[in-house]
């Protein structure tokens, strides 16, 4: 783990040295030291925005996991549901959510609802598609065991489909984590004044670049930790697979 930080540390040091050596003005590009200072000094004013962004991403992401996996089960068990929903999900998968964010804000205002919907809409299709393909790859005999016992669909899902498919589902879940963060920040940039996205824009407009970069760093740190944690959860869940 620690050795993973060596290269980024060196890069930051180089960045700092270059900024100082070339005398780059702060409003063009602040050095990492100024940014870190801003992250600490402005923490109290950024805290509410931090919580808004992180909270929305986590909530939207969890909803997307439930929705994506739940719909995958519904599609798996019912070809009618599949026929009805698959075209829409496929489209949602390739449409960048930023294209509909203005519309969502027109309907729902600049508050958190529009952003939450954007996060869910952007991140659940990839979970859905990956879960579905994992379900259809479950080995025949594993399912036949339950079919021979005439297990219900619910039992089949919890005893076999879901545990068998954790690696496949997590492929989608990890992508969804990234997409959720992108969708949330995009939403914040598009309207409203809450969240790290909105703050980045605000500070940039006032040329307060260390603060703007501080917001970017807070977003990046969250994304990295979020993604890595999911990897750890996956490893733990599949420790016996």
């Amino acid at each position: 783990m620690a050795e993973l930080l060596v290269i980024p540390g060196l890069a930051l040091a180089l960045w700092q040295i270059l900024v100082m050596a070339l005398d780059v003005p702060q409003w063009q590009l602040p050095g990492p030291w100024e940014i870190l200072t801003a992250m600490v000094e402005d923490f109290s004013s950024l805290r509410a925005h931090l919580l808004t962004t992180y909270g929305n991403v986590l909530m939207g992401f969890l909803l997307a996991v439930a929705l994506g996996t739940g719909l995958a089960l519904a599609i798996y068990f019912s070809s009618l549901v599949g026929l009805t929903l698959t075209p829409f999900i496929n489209i949602m998968c390739v449409v960048p959510v930023i294209t509909v964010v203005p519309l969502l804000m027109l309907w729902l205002g600049f508050g958190r609802e529009a952003k939450l919907i954007a996060v869910v809409a952007q991140s659940f299709p990839v979970i859905n598609l990956n879960a579905l393909s994992a379900f259809s790859n479950v080995a025949g005999p594993r399912l036949e065991l339950l079919r021979a016992l005439r297990a219900s669909r619910f039992q089949t899902a919890i005893h076999c489909l879901l545990p068998s498919s954790i690696p496949g589902i997590f492929t989608g879940v990890k992508l969804a984590a990234v997409l959720a963060l992108i969708a949330e920040v995009t939403g914040e940039i598009s309207g409203g004044d809450a969240g790290l996205g909105a703050q980045t824009i605000k500070y940039t407009q006032f040329l307060k670049m260390p603060q703007a970069f501080a917001c970017v760093f807070y977003v990046a740190a969250f994304g990295a930790i979020f993604y890595q944690s999911l990897g750890l959860i996956e490893r733990w869940l599949t420790r016996d697979h």
Binding site: P141, E144, L145, R147, A148, L149, R150, Q155, H159, D240
Partner: protein
């Protein structure tokens, strides 16, 4: 009692129809252990899937304990739940312990209470898996895994056990020990058993009746009643045993011969 009456099964694969089973008549009395031997692809697994109503026959009827089902009438869930199923591979779930795997049918069938759990533990002991019960199946040998698969199929006290080449992947020594152990457990339970194998010695050792199958289309060419004496029933070395084996080999040889002519 299990009775297959004029069962046929056609599979359709890429526009081509092909007859996997033709005119299968087979009968297993209560408490009887019937073996089905035949070459790879003759439709042995398909027969078992039809009995357990996982796939539908194209024509013909299945009768289990007086209940008839066919391609229009599905088997009642209760009838199928009186069956146990042993697969060609152990088919244990890697995320459950050995004990949890063996108890899984109890969970699915909603059989609760101390006595069921005790019976599961009894079977675990009977299969000599007590020391491994709380391990994951990955740490089991092939023989142990397959024993776990066998007792899992028995844990809900089924009347009928359907076994699809359960010991086919094991080496000969292990298989023989498994056969003898299985015979002992089976005698305690009095289940009717359909035991699929491609090994003639195994069929003679286990079966009270042996159905011999052939391919192209999959069909039963002969059924042989096996009566080994009390003494010979526990070994593969006796004189009578050898006689049955050579008789069955003869039947299979004749089928092969007819095919080449």
């Amino acid at each position: 009692m299990i009775e297959l009456d004029k069962i046929s099964k056609r599979f359709r694969a890429r526009r081509e129809e092909f007859l996997a089973l033709s005119d299968i008549r087979l009968r297993v009395d209560d408490g009887e252990l019937a073996c089905v031997v035949g070459p790879s692809g003759c439709g042995k697994s398909t027969i078992i899937r039809i009995i357990s109503d996982i796939i539908k026959p194209t024509s013909g009827r299945v009768k289990v304990d007086g209940i008839t089902f066919d391609n229009s009438a599905p088997a009642p869930r209760e009838t199928i739940r009186r069956m146990g199923f042993v697969f060609q591979i152990p088919n244990l779930y890697p995320w459950l312990t050995v004990r949890e795997n063996i108890r899984l049918p109890l969970v699915v069938l909603g059989l609760k209470g101390r006595s069921w759990l005790d019976y599961a533990d009894y079977l675990i002991g009977r299969a000599d898996l007590s020391d491994q019960a709380d391990l994951r199946p990955q740490s089991l040998s092939q023989g142990m895994s397959q024993r776990a698969g066998v007792v899992r199929a028995m844990v809900h006290k089924p009347d009928i056990l359907l076994m699809d080449e359960p010991f086919g992947a094991l080496d000969e020594g292990t298989r023989e020990r498994m056969n003898l152990l299985f015979l002992d457990i089976w005698r305690e339970t009095g289940m009717s058993v359909v035991f699929i194998t491609h090994n003639i010695e195994e069929a003679v050792l286990l079966g009270q009746r042996v159905y011999v199958m052939a391919t192209g289309p999959g069909r039963i060419v002969e059924s042989v009643r096996v009566e080994l004496g009390e003494r010979e029933a526990r070994t593969v070395e006796g004189h009578l045993f050898a006689e049955y084996v050579s008789r069955l080999n003869g039947i299979i040889g004749n089928v092969e011969l007819e095919k080449t002519v």
